[in-house]
């Protein structure tokens, strides 16, 4: 039960810069945390200037460089907006690394097919970087500005296939379309890894299931404690005789697609 090592630390902002539109890249100096991070894990961040809103906010860990790690976030509410107003030198509190991440593909193992929607791309970068086995990254978003770190995936030598719903960049449509096309090719030894909105994850899980391809999905549930005590973040997971609620922050965020009881996921 004490499997995942985690630390609570005051971390310093190295930089906090706008990426595209409402997306920001935040680099944090965290020398003790950085070496522990596995792909698919997250940091639970307390934005100290937030007063009336108490809780920490969870963010996937995007990149790890030396004694820093970074996150890629979208401003959607008061926490992320307060975060966007912070600057280098200011401090945050982070509990990290948290959660059960992706199984990093082994050299010579299955070919990884990464599927990412919106800020889900943040969770995939470290996986691509740490995977000795290269593969394909499917990135999708609503508009051109929702396509993040495309260049970075290319720089890692991955095959990047981009879709936008409005067609402003890459292929027009949903990220599942090129995935479906690829799976239809029926190449052997493949494995899907996905992160994005729950609807997308459900669709990816379903498609992977149809092609009998294993899939690891990083689930996005609202969180409170982030460390497994409050039981906020549960999703229904199959057990021998039915299903039980498991914690996205602890047993997840990465779950095997076949274990999720999709009918019950809200």
């Amino acid at each position: 039960m004490l499997a995942v090592p985690m630390l609570e630390q005051t971390v310093q902002i190295v930089s906090n810069e706008r990426d595209t539109d409402s997306y920001f890249r935040l680099v944090l100096r965290a020398p003790q945390i950085a070496p522990l991070i596995q792909p698919g894990q997250f940091a639970h961040v307390r934005v100290l200037p937030l007063k009336g809103a108490l809780l920490r906010r969870p963010f996937s860990i995007f990149q790890v460089t030396g004694d820093t790690f970074s996150i890629l976030y979208k401003t959607v509410g008061q926490g992320t907006e307060a975060l966007a107003r912070m600057g280098s030198g200011e401090e945050l509190s982070a509990i990290a690394p948290l959660g059960h991440g992706f199984t990093v593909p082994r050299r010579g193992g299955e070919t990884p097919l990464l599927v990412a929607g919106g800020y889900g791309m943040a969770a995939m970068y470290l996986l691509a970087q740490r995977s000795p086995q290269k593969g394909i990254v499917f990135v999708g978003g609503r508009r051109r500005i929702d396509i993040l770190c495309e260049k970075e995936f290319e720089a890692l030598g991955w095959d990047v296939r981009t879709t936008t719903e409005d067609g402003s960049h890459g292929e027009k449509g949903l990220v599942t379309q090129p995935l479906l096309k690829e799976l239809k090719r029926k190449a052997p030894y493949r494995k899907v890894f996905a992160c994005g909105p729950t609807g997308m994850l459900g669709a990816v899980g379903k498609i992977a299931g149809e092609f009998n391809v294993p899939a690891e999905l990083s689930m996005d549930e609202h969180m409170c404690c982030g460390v497994g005590v409050c039981l906020t973040c549960v999703i229904p997971i199959k057990t021998g005789d039915g299903w039980e609620y498991q914690r996205t922050c602890t047993e997840g965020p990465v779950f095997d697609a076949r274990e999720v009881v999709w009918e019950t996921v809200k």
């Binding site: 039960m1 004490l2 090592p5 985690m6 630390l7 609570e8 307390r46 009336g52 809103a53 108490l54 809780l55 920490r56 509190s93 509990i95 549930e221 609202h222 409170c224 404690c225 460390v227 497994g228 005590v229 409050c230 039981l231 906020t232 973040c233 549960v234 999703i235 039980e244 609620y245 602890t250 809200k266």
Partner: protein
Amino acid sequence: MKSKVQSLKSRVQSPGSKVEPAAEGVNLAVQIGRLTLPNPVMVASGTFGYGVEYAQLLDLNQLGAVVVKGIRLHPVRGNRTPRTVEVTSGLINAIGLQGPGVDGFIKKYWPFLKTLKVPAIINIWGTTVEEYADVARRFDALGGVGALELNVSCPNIKEGGAQFGTDLRLIAQVVAACRKVTKLPLITKMSPNVVSIAPFAKAAADAGSDALSIMNSYPAMAIDIETRRPRLANVTGGLTGPCIKPIAIKLVWEAAQAVKIPIIGMGGIQNAADAIEFMVAGAAAVAVGTANFYEPQTPLQVIAGICDFLKKHGLKDVKEMIGSVTLKK
């Protein structure tokens, strides 16, 4: 049973252990019935899991006691999600008492908990008076348990919970039934959702409760105006966090006038000043709840802050603060 509690006490107070009841010249130990806590700062049920989850972030043996999430006889799946929602200076939750049941708990969590040097307090509940007693009996038999906290005040379940804590006859029945089956210290967790807490405090004390914990969460609701749907799947939930502190202080103060048994104060404690306010109002001990979620170091910060306060005011014993509020000019 008595000997078990005694041995727990002496274990807690044994010199050389990391937790000293007297921290640098001030005595922090307090009594909850026959149970001695090394210091008055516990954690609140449901906000600290089963202890083990926080073991990497803080030294659990520095706490006054570890109180675990509410446990029923059988495993409980809990409510659908969303289960919590953040509100101004607070949180509303409707977890629905998800838990592994007595057997699951003993198997999964007790082996770790019993290694702690500080008391483990088990929060229990049932849907009938008999079920409360059954659970109490099981934990009595287990041995090594610090105390039982009877949760008669959870607002988030249809059967059980607050139904017992807001009915004078039922609260007495639950306490009496558990009293009959165990000599473990019994703490009754009070519902704030009553017109006056005094008669409920008296009913619990008269039925044999050794202490009261005040308060559980307050019934509340939040609605998403864009979707026009409740923000919690359970529709309503329980409000906790700093926003409820002034309500909790008043209830602790009122109950302290009504009964002689010790009170464990909780509701929005974020720092030592909050904890001291509860003690001055009449609490013999306190519990940190929602604050654990955003700042897991809170309980330890509170203990350190209480020490500083005592020293600053030249007090030698934390017990001098209990109920020390003065009403005259």
